[in-house]
Symmetry: C2
Subunit: 240 residues, 2 copies
DNA sequence: ATCCCTGGTGTACGCCGTACACCGATGCGC
DNA sequence: GCGCATCGGTGTACGGCGTACACCAGGGAT
């Protein structure tokens, strides 16, 4: 805005563009974020942005990763429950700071690298806490089928049909996100997983989470739970 | 498409517009649904639609309610758990038939009447099953913080500041959705609810659901749960 | 016969994302 | 020092969007 017009403007960069986009969405809302408004914000002509992001979708991808990067990494020195709880609440705080983010995340057709990295670290925490690959898998779905808003599928819907391309994709996956790969490649679990990386039984995952909650509800009901005590699990006490 | 052009076209109506919109979104995807494409589908000029829906947002509202209307009403003759389970799974089936619907629901700024009616009937089931108003409230949040995608706030964010308008809104609410009203007006619960209908402590609701899940996870882990058995809760057995 | 009301039409505006041609500066091989 | 490619910003233009607004055909009430 107040910068000298003409030559004196700081040079654009993918990073500057992304940051400005996040700020603009925070301030004016997602619907006010257009390539044109963002360009104006940066004192630049709309088409200039396309030298730094391929298109608006990629801009949104970048914004998601910028938000996800704000999630504090797990502190590895506590039990799994404390660590996971901290991770989830940190994610929640990040998403509350950028209320547009969950909507954007949910419209991504496949998860961004930042999201994958975050999920991977949570998976790693469960594994280190003594969860089997199998249970970790379902538990991630239970958290994801909507406590978070993200999870769903790691592969952009179906994995590549070409077997060569698939093994390449898998190798890449296990290099970058070892814990996620472990789940994708799990030996046991769904006995019908004839094809490796075939995705999973969505209906099962949904009912798994649902029944977990229903079990919890019944327990609370049976013991006459009341929020006055402000303690959610029978054995948990939480501050605030 | 194939209908006689000119006079012989069946007359439009809000219902026909909504139905055509749902069909078009099912077939071509949400991003292919525009007022123009929908009008073409109906063999009509775009502006004709505006005689039946106020604008595109209201069109989307109507589509949501059309989908929600497909959810089977609870069968009242079973225990709460069976009924709720049936409701949620029926909702899920409806949403799977119309994959665009959850995205649309999540962009509504306040819940549509159909959504409210559905929630109200689920709340009623919990209440009839012996859940306190208080516990029902939290339990709905736990289900809603994201097992479903909807819930959040009943009032369009803050209730009207004018006290007269607010009591009118509340009277309307308890007439139409008595069970929801009961929760909004609950006496106990959050002791800081100095203003009636003030909304609720979102952070508390989130942690409530989170800890419920974490408790469940821990139980499963401790007992060496494996999906081979295909039974999610310790005490539940479910078909297929 | 008149009038108005309902519902479909036509035109037009301002926004959007972005393809494409262009152009000034910068840096590099000669 | 010079030609030239490369990179980052520009300007114009196109097709699509939602929708405001003026218009009009036909039918029912008066």
């Amino acid at each position: 805005m107040a910068q000298r017009d003409g030559a004196g403007r700081a040079p654009l960069s993918r990073d500057r563009v992304l940051r400005a986009a996040v700020v603009l969405a925070d301030r004016a809302g997602l619907e006010a974020l257009s390539m044109r408004s963002l360009a104006q914000e940066l004192g630049v002509v709309p088409m200039a942005l396309y030298k730094h992001v391929a298109n608006k979708e990629q801009l949104l991808d970048g914004m998601v990763d910028a938000v996800v990067a704000e999630i504090e990494p797990p502190a590895d020195d506590a039990d799994w429950r404390t660590v996971v709880r901290g991770c989830v609440l940190s994610a929640r705080r990040a998403l509350l700071r950028h209320p547009w983010a969950v909507r954007v995340i949910e419209t991504r057709s496949s998860p961004t690298p930042g999201v994958l990295a975050h999920l991977d670290s949570v998976v790693g925490t469960f594994r280190a806490g003594g969860f089997s690959v199998d249970l970790t898998h379902h538990v991630m779905h239970a958290l994801g089928s909507r406590v978070w808003g993200f999870t769903q599928e790691v592969f952009p819907s179906p994995p590549p049909p070409d077997p060569e391309a698939r093994t390449a994709a898998l190798r890449e996956l296990s290099g970058r996100y070892p814990h996620i790969a472990e789940i994708v490649l799990r030996g046991g679990g769904h006995e019908d997983a004839s094809v490796v990386g075939r995705g999973c039984d969505d209906q099962f995952e949904f009912e798994f989470a649902l029944d977990l909650l229903l079990d919890g509800f019944e327990r609370l009901r049976a013991q006459g739970w009341s929020s006055a005590a402000r303690s959610a699990g029978e054995s948990r006490a939480q501050g605030a």
